[in-house]
């Protein structure tokens, strides 16, 4: 099949739009798609130019309107996307295609900015190489002339040395631009919970974070709770985290029973997930704040990968209850509060905390809630408590907290993740977005903040099986055009394994290459170099290696190697040349031999021997 280079450019642009669609505002994606489609339809050159200019201006306005500034990453990425789609309008000559190549390279780099994973990188790289290959083709090069040996000499050292340069290139900074306080939300790390806004639960397999060095043999996997954020405040019928006035010093954990390293890959990250229990963060690549509610928040929201080491005592329960916490834990501004409290306590008075709690559980159970991924819509928490039927963890946690507070128990919503998947290839635990969970903590004076999972009361299987298995069981079919296909048909164990393998590859590449930052580089280089060396030197050094190794390789592979005897003869000629006797091209061995013999009588025997052996090998 003959591939048209214009179609190739188009398909690459379309593919890039698809990849970016998740990260870029929909308006930009739609705009870029429109521009591409228009470029295919309009052939009149006047209209092309007019529309191109119009689209460019429109695009700029659109970006300005959506992002308010041109300086955030997304705005830049959007601009490149629009530029590349506009470039599709003029793909006629060779140089146009080369310019398209440059723009596509820039676009690929932009994809790395919004989606920094190894697979995307590999895909982008392959795409660019493929595109370049086609540019060479339209330049009328007979590519069969590109010898494999030469390409090997060219590409392998280039790749190796670009890695070397990558490692030695001095990193000045962690990035000059901060991505700012963008409120891009996702379920496990929500900073607010609104019963009205809860829609269908999306089971995205996107990896949120990976945990390494976890001694998983001690823990039953489905029972792992990863806490991130605490939702305290309830007003305007929305649960919000009220962390600001709970800031405190990070505690010292006396006897941690789990030590692990977590890498957050989802962006943007705000709260750091830790195992439920009492945790302390030992090391982190970014600054964070600790709150006495046992949560850790990054000082600024970031799109960078976050790495930190944590120690947790999973049994030790947090007993901190400041007066502020008590006040927050009991605060419930709601008109239906008393009515619901009455329903729970059913006119029993002077109950102690434990009995109150039992009453709440009894009431919660009596409601016979059902678990559903697509629950009905509710006006607010009270609506759910009084009339609700179907819901998921957020509904249950919010309503349980409401009920506990209504009867006077200090309670809070904990959002986080539950469960995870072990990757046997690098012994890590992968926690995905579909593992997102919410539960409740209630304070008892003697025991501290106890974890209560109301979801477990509704569907114990959700906790026992883990999220993905449970949801598979819950909805074993995929519907497609009114037909239901069992999910089990689509699941192959080998495919799963391959997926996990790719995942481990991706994560190891991410940790080795992608997260090679300033500190890491300084650590590696300072261990290799003498103390008072500037960090720029290794870079210069590696560049010099590159500049000298390649010519050497080329010389090595390009010299014509002659036979052993011929080389011996050539050595003899070189020796004679050093003695001042150079052989003319037209001179035969015998003539040269006799000339040398006359000039150097003392060496005549050696010369004759050399000449004789040469003649014997080649002419006899």
């Amino acid at each position: 099949m003959k591939i048209n280079i214009k179609n190739l450019s188009l398909s690459f642009v379309a593919l890039d739009i698809l990849i970016m669609a998740r990260a870029i505002p929909n308006a930009i994606v739609i705009f870029a798609t429109l521009v591409t489609i228009f470029s295919l339809i309009i052939s009149n050159s006047f209209w092309r130019t007019t529309l191109k200019v119009t689209f460019l201006i429109l695009g700029l306005f659109l970006i300005r309107y959506i992002f308010k500034t041109f300086l955030v990453t997304e705005a830049g990425v959007s601009l490149v996307l629009i530029l590349s789609t506009l470039k599709v309008w003029e793909l006629d000559s060779e140089s146009d295609h080369f310019n398209m190549f440059l723009i596509l390279s820039l676009l690929e780099s932009c994809i790395f900015l919004v989606d920094p994973t190894f697979l995307i990188f590999l895909l982008g790289f392959i795409k660019i190489v493929f595109y370049f290959y086609f540019i060479l083709k339209i330049r009328n090069y007979d590519l069969s002339q590109l010898s494999f040996k030469r390409l090997f000499v060219l590409i392998i050292p280039s790749l190796l040395l670009s890695l070397l340069m990558f490692y030695t290139f001095p990193r000045f900074t962690q990035g000059f631009l901060s991505t700012g306080n963008q409120q891009l939300l996702f379920s496990g790390n929500d900073s607010q919970l609104n019963m009205k806004g809860l829609g269908n639960l999306k089971l995205s397999p996107q990896v949120v974070f990976r945990v390494y060095g976890l001694d998983h043999s001690q823990l039953t996997l489905p029972l792992l709770y990863w806490r991130t954020n605490i939702l305290w405040d309830y007003y305007d019928e929305i649960w919000r985290s009220g962390y600001i006035n709970l800031r405190s010093e990070a505690p010292l954990i006396s006897s941690p029973n789990a030590g692990y390293r977590i890498r957050l890959t989802q962006d943007p990250a705000e709260f750091l997930p830790t195992l439920d229990g009492s945790s302390t963060i030992l090391k982190s690549n970014l600054d964070f704040q600790f709150f006495s509610e046992n949560s850790f928040r990054l000082k600024s929201m970031t799109k960078l990968d976050v790495n930190y080491e944590t120690a947790t005592n999973t049994i030790l329960i947090n007993k901190t209850l400041t007066p502020l916490m008590q006040k927050k834990g009991l605060k419930l501004r709601s008109t239906a509060k008393d009515k619901i409290a009455k329903m729970i306590l059913s006119d029993k008075i002077n109950l102690n905390a434990e009995n109150k709690f039992k009453q709440v559980i009894a009431f919660f159970k009596s409601r016979h809630f059902e678990y559903s991924l697509s629950p009905a819509s509710y006006k607010n928490v009270e609506d759910f408590i009084l009339n609700g039927k179907t819901g998921y963890c957020s509904h249950f946690a919010a309503s349980f907290t409401y009920m506990a507070r209504a009867v006077g128990l200090p309670a809070r919503i904990v959002s986080g993740y539950q469960g995870g998947e072990i990757n046997p290839f690098d012994q890590s635990v992968i926690v995905r977005e579909l593992d997102a969970h919410a539960w409740v903590e209630i304070y008892f004076e003697d025991k501290g903040w106890l974890r209560i999972d109301p979801t477990a009361m509704v569907v114990p299987a959700r906790i026992a099986l883990g999220s993905s298995l449970f949801h598979d069981k819950l909805e074993p079919y995929i519907s497609l055009f009114y037909f239901n296909f069992p999910k089990s048909l689509l699941r192959f164990s080998s495919l799963d394994k391959f997926n996990l393998y790719l995942d481990s590859l991706n994560s190891s590449f991410n940790s080795e290459v992608f997260n090679f930052d300033k500190e890491k580089q300084q650590k590696v280089l300072s261990s290799l170099l003498p103390a008072n060396f500037s960090l720029g030197w290794p870079f210069v050094f590696s560049l010099l290696i590159f500049l000298s190794v390649l010519p050497f390789l080329f010389i090595y592979f390009s010299t014509k190697r002659s036979s052993l005897e011929k080389r011996k003869y050539q050595r003899f000629l070189k020796k004679m040349k050093r003695l001042g006797l150079e052989k003319h091209p037209g001179e035969t061995a015998l003539q040269f031999g006799s000339r040398c013999g006359r000039a150097l009588p003392q060496k005549a025997a050696m010369i004759n021997l050399e000449i004789k052996s040469y003649i014997d090998t080649f002419y006899l």
Partner: protein, 308 residues
């Protein structure tokens, strides 16, 4: 190498030198040309002994000799012979022309008409003559020694390149050295010497020598060298490109020369030795050049070409 043959070759050169004074190299070259089965073209001024040279060779080799003087009015039939009707036997009888000899001296070849020249050259190439539809084989060995005057005059017909190519070698005899020349002008005894000469090589031993020459080893390296010579001649503007036939002649002559040098293998030295003679008439793009200029060209080609 047969010691007997070896001896007779030495005798051949020594005997010939009795008549042709001080021209050992030329004799050897001419002998080499004969042994290689080629034909020789001698270009020289009159009076340097071209005819004596040819006669000496013929005598020593025990070959039947004939001399054809080329003129404007020499017709092919004068050369090849005619069929005559014999009335007594009422049959046609072939009266063979002078070409039916083993050793032919074609004197002043360039004075003949192109038609006659062609007739001779065809006979040289094919070693047979066609007369009135009748093909007659020429005797073996068949050796043509042609001479021509160096100065082109009006009324002479230059041989075209394609016909020159049929001669294996072109050489000049040149004036004798001072010592020999005194000898030559003082006594007129070389004619007597010529008459006294006896054959040194019989046709059988010539055959034997030719067989031995065939077995001389030519290495790949040498063939590559010869090819480089041909290639360089074709690449440069100063030369007229050499034909593959020239290449074949070079190798043949080099083999014979190696044999004369009493070696069983060919060296580049042999090639360089015979090269000026083999390619002198093929290398020059301009016909008006003298043979010395042509041989200089050949040497330039040698100097230009890498031996190894």
């Amino acid at each position: 190498m047969d010691a007997n043959n070896n001896h007779s070759i030495t005798t051949f050169i020594n005997q010939a030198q009795k008549v042709i004074l001080g021209k050992e190299k030329e004799l050897k070259i001419a002998f080499c040309c004969f042994l290689s089965g080629g034909h020789l073209l001698i270009e020289d001024v009159p009076g340097v002994g071209k005819t004596t040279f040819a006669k000496t060779l013929a005598k020593l080799l025990d070959l039947s000799f004939s001399r054809i003087q080329f003129t404007n009015d020499l017709m092919p039939s004068d050369l090849l012979g005619v069929q005559i009707f014999n009335s007594t036997e009422s049959k046609f009888k072939l009266i063979p022309g002078p070409i039916f000899h083993q050793f032919i001296l074609a004197d002043e070849l360039n004075r003949g008409t192109p038609k006659t020249q062609s007739a001779l050259l065809e006979a040289m190439e094919e070693k047979q003559v066609t007369l009135d539809g009748q093909t007659i084989k020429l005797p073996f060995p068949f050796f043509v020694l042609a001479t021509q005057n160096p100065r082109s005059q009006i009324g002479t017909h230059h041989l075209p390149e394609s016909q020159l190519d049929r001669f294996m070698m072109k050489m000049k005899i040149g004036y004798p050295d001072a010592a020999f020349e005194i000898n030559l002008i003082a006594r007129d005894e070389h004619l007597e010497n010529l008459l006294q000469l006896t054959a040194v090589l019989s046709p059988e031993s010539i055959n034997q020598i030719k067989n031995e020459i065939e077995s001389i080893k030519v290495s790949d390296e040498l063939l590559k060298y010869v090819r480089r010579l041909l290639e360089n001649s074709r690449l440069h503007e100063n030369f007229l490109g050499l034909s593959p036939r020239a290449g074949r002649d070079i190798v043949k002559a080099a083999k014979t020369w190696a044999y004369l040098e009493k070696r069983t293998y060919v060296l580049p030295d042999d090639v360089q030795m015979i090269l000026p003679f083999v390619i002198a008439h093929r290398i020059s793009p301009f016909q008006s050049q003298t043979i010395e200029q042509d041989q200089d060209l050949a040497r330039a080609l040698v100097n230009l070409t890498h031996v190894d």
